[in-house]
Symmetry: C2
Subunit: 254 residues, 2 copies
């Protein structure tokens, strides 16, 4: 989170930056069937950290993240997206920040701005592994690719940030069940189509919609109970899994 | 953004809250084939606004949002998800905040905390329209459902927040093309499957994967150029549209 800031800016104690707000970047590459991310180490510490930085007064938050992305990869026009604001109070831990500053020869005061509670905006970037030029900054020893499958221990909640970025990628591979809370527990295919059409603001082809929905294997048909006119009633469906942030988008593949 | 805060807290000028950080909630319901959201109006102004609030020291940001959601809907265990951090500098406009305070009989100082630059965490909630009990707070005249299709003008960038929430819903209906930046412009089905398997950390069934991918209509096969052994080479594919935050997940339906 610190590495786009210079020692002089650290000593200026937050002047010129938005208070309590940081950015952290999970920069993904794909090489030899491995997902990789960029990590930095700080001088005179053994701390591994995500690239990141702070937001200047008069600077858009997204622009601050993009500034860091460009500095760390030497690439422009990279796919970059926010995915989560990490705002839990228990992420506040001044110890590693103090260690980094001491490692740079700075003795922070007890109320130094970097020792206060910060929230951080998590971003992920998708880059072509072969094009990026990982570049450390004045505060870090190295900027290198690490296999996601065997990361070193990361500082603060950076492990959680990586995990959440990965969950976001996975969920986006397929995420069709999130609409469930807008519907009653069981519904007809026509109900579902109405909802999709309303959200998309577009008419959908009825049989294509039904075929697609059934192909996703996220719906199950509810057993019809016998009643007089039941042979005319439409089928009722429900979602196999209820949605959640960590929805399981996987099963339809296996 | 203000309505979970009391007049006394406003006059305390930010003491006890995280600086520069707000939450705004787009609370969606679905009724009679209309998507609806909850809006508030402020006393003695004609401003319409999203429900929202601030984050207390010692409070998680998500908990602050959930506190507001419960207060405005009288519902617990509602689907609530962050979708974006609105952090552009040009969203800073002290005029409506001043009007709201004056409407409550408060004369703010020039450097009052509510007149400074804020970033806001956007959340959306999906609720059962028939269960929610829209509830204004001490600062607002009303809390009511409005059709998304004909909203009144909203204060600050709240119109943008609603638009972005809607785009998020639409994109999540299908969002399979986002992986494109991790691949070269053309790739084999096997390349694509390797990437999916790596992200999901799970083996996929080859023919099921291919069938699903082709059914999504997001790939097009690249014309094979003649070469000696070409009859044995696998097909190459590319994504029909390149991904973007506002990807068009729609066409596969029509």
């Amino acid at each position: 989170m610190m590495n786009s800031v210079t020692p002089a800016e650290i000593q200026a104690n937050g002047v010129g930056f938005l208070p309590g707000l940081a950015t952290d970047l999970v920069i993904f590459g794909f090489h030899q069937n491995q997902l990789k991310i960029l990590l930095l180490t700080y001088q005179n510490t053994s701390l591994f950290a995500l690239p990141g930085g702070f937001v200047r007064e008069g600077e858009n938050v997204n622009d601050a993240a993009r500034r860091t992305l460009t500095q760390r990869t030497s690439l422009r026009d990279i796919y970059l997206e926010q995915f989560y604001l990490f705002g839990d109070q228990n992420r506040h831990d001044p110890a590693p920040l103090r260690a980094i500053m001491v490692g740079k020869g700075i003795q922070p005061t007890e109320d130094h701005w970097l020792l206060r509670r910060f929230v951080t905006v998590g971003y992920y970037a998708l880059v072509d592994f072969t094009q990026a030029v990982p570049t450390p900054d004045p505060l870090s020893d190295s900027c290198e690719w690490y296999d996601l499958a065997c990361l070193p221990p990361l500082m603060l909640d950076h492990q959680l940030i990586v995990q959440k970025a990965l969950e976001t990628l996975r969920a986006r591979l397929d995420f069709n069940q999130w609409v469930a809370p807008l519907l009653p527990p069981t519904f007809t295919m026509s109900d579902l189509q109405n909802l999709y059409e309303t959200i998309l603001d577009q008419k959908l082809h009825r049989s294509a919609f039904q075929r697609k929905m059934l192909s996703l294997a996220i719906l199950e048909r509810v057993e019809k109970k016998y009643s007089g006119g039941a042979h005319k009633a439409p089928y009722l469906y429900r979602f196999i899994n209820s949605p959640a942030v960590s929805a399981q988008p996987i099963q339809e593949w296996s």
